[in-house]
Symmetry: C2
Subunit: 333 residues, 2 copies
DNA sequence: TTTATCTACTACAACGTTTTCGTAAGTTTT
DNA sequence: AAAACTTACGAAAACGTTGTAGTAGATAAA
């Protein structure tokens, strides 16, 4: 079933049918009705490739993210997908698995017009962005969210990582912590640095001197990270507070505390960025900084569609910052 | 940059260039080398729409699932994506949000050849499958996973829901439960029914009579479901064991127990199907039946690709069953 | 030497749309 | 009544590939 067949059935030209289907003013109402009903009868559907080829538009966007097994990216995708569904767009998903090589390969797949726009969140390992600059030259609209490339002139949607980290650190200080460790992930990642800067600033504001050895760079696999946390907590002058920059490090901390028979929050208070809905049910319930993940997906997708639908909107090159929420629970009591 | 331009630069015909790019034996090695290096130099990439239009293949599959904010579908997508990446396929994602109307709309989008194959898991609300039969007629390869349509002759990948439910129920009985409630989701869903049947069979095997009022159908929203669980646990002859068929109902149960000051596992033991990695950290740690989600994604994607790549493989119309694991923790001690 | 077989290329017709440019009627304006 | 416009349609040229069929020229077989 193609438009040619449909046209023959209707004894009309292909052009007329095409125009009728797209509700052109050049076609009379009766003809449109005839065409539409015949199309439904034969259940004709336009061929997306022919259409995309001709119009040079794919009605598709790509979402490039590190992983999906994660309480943050899940709701983000949800938000993106909901906007896409409203706008009649399709969503391709690509996972980098925190691997820069994979990220480069994926970006190179997207150079050829397969998608009208790209939403992305960088991998932990991404240390330079030349692959993205290259994409930039092809003029494919793009939006960064959460894990952004700070220096690129592309719209960015983030949360208030710096400020919420200050608030979180102050919360720990207020609840009695004096030696607070920070579990960081990649130093490539803007969010990791922002969060760390907030942590350090809060310490300074409260006359506590930031110590380098209290900043643990957890860039390895799960087992390696756990070993670093174990070492940290086995020291004689172990920290009395732990600020994890991502959820998986807080989970690891819980496991290590269990192993070392350290009581949370008595021996050490724990707090993390997390969107897990099981945080309130953990033992003890976990204090979190929770990001508006769904809204972030919706917001960044909306920006992308504005960019896609009318080019040259350079005034959109701003940064959108959404606020995270500090939810105090028993792990910092 | 298209193949025409590239051909002109090389002073070759379009056909020659096309064949050289696709490593045809008709082209000499020197010419191939020239073409490849020139293509790289001008960074030419083949237009996917022209190619798909001509070849009637999209190198794309669709994944249609109820939601993504969920510890089960996350790893499944991961598995699917990893196979797709190996095979050079693209992955479109569509969320039904457990809404049959949306599912129908999405399926109708996929009728037109946009994808070479479809992987799907039904929505809770899907009560009939006529929209899928229609798709079946178009001869688009399809694989069901987890939430399958039992009666359709399409390859299906599931876990051993019936058997693992028997094991889980027996575990509760062995640990002293005599009045075990089952929290079911949609009665449309094969998995829900299988799980319930396993539960009932285990009761019978142990001479416990299944009671209808101990089967709670949680088909509403979160608040409604909680209300049903609250009512269940407020009865004078409340159950001493709860078997939740999905994780969200176990979480709700935890919350209600907290509210009603009921101790898990002393007052009531709780067990659920779940893939949450925080289950061991909950208060108390949660006994789960854990499905091999990642493997399920990989397995079903592999089957789909076999179907896509060589049609007529009707011997693949089997059902693949993977085994879930019962992980005993403190909520059933 | 003639005929058959390769080798390495090219021309061209699809694939199914969309859109520009015509153009016959019919309608309105002068 | 001629000129100018509208209305409703159709022809045909893209969009960028791929694969079939064809063809020179070279080599091998008869």
């Amino acid at each position: 079933m193609n438009i040619k067949h449909l046209a023959k059935e209707l004894e009309l030209s292909i052009s007329t049918v095409s125009k009728a289907l797209r509700d052109s003013h050049e076609i009379s109402t009766q003809t449109k009705d005839r065409v539409l009903s015949k199309a439904k009868e034969l259940n004709y559907e336009v061929n997306p490739f022919a259409s995309s080829l001709r119009k040079q538009k794919s009605k598709t966007i790509a979402v490039v993210i590190p992983e999906v097994v994660n309480d943050f990216f899940g709701p983000v995708i949800n938000g993106i997908e909901s906007v896409a569904q409203e706008k009649g767009y399709h969503v391709l998903i690509y996972l980098t698995h925190e691997d820069m090589q994979k990220e480069v390969a994926i970006i190179s797949l997207l150079q050829n017009g397969r998608v009208d726009g790209i939403m992305m969140s960088l991998s932990e390992q991404t240390s330079n962005t030349s692959h993205l600059e290259e994409l930039r030259e092809k003029d494919i609209p793009m939006v960064f969210f959460d894990r952004i490339a700070e220096h690129m002139s592309v719209p960015k949607v983030t949360t208030d990582d710096y400020n919420s980290s200050i608030r979180a650190t102050e919360h720990l200080i207020r609840n009695g912590c004096r030696r607070i460790a920070f579990l960081s992930i990649s130093q490539n990642l803007s969010i990791s640095n922002k969060r760390m800067n907030g942590y350090q600033e809060a310490l300074r504001m409260h006359k506590l001197t930031p110590e380098d050895k209290l900043i643990i760079s957890c860039v390895g696999n799960d087992a390696e990270n756990k070993q670093m946390i174990r070492k940290l907590l086995q020291q004689k002058d172990r920290p009395d507070g732990i600020f994890a920059s991502v959820e998986k490090l807080a989970i690891a901390t819980y496991e290590i505390c269990d192993e070392l028979k350290l009581n949370i929050p008595k021996d050490v208070k724990v707090l993390t960025f997390s969107n897990s809905y099981t945080a309130p049910l953990l033992n003890p319930s976990l204090t979190t900084i929770t990001q508006p993940a769904y809204e972030m997906g919706r917001e960044s997708a909306s920006i992308l569609f504005k960019l896609v639908e009318k080019r040259g909107h350079n005034f959109l090159l701003e940064k959108t910052v959404l606020n995270s929420e500090l939810i105090e629970r028993n792990s910092t009591k």
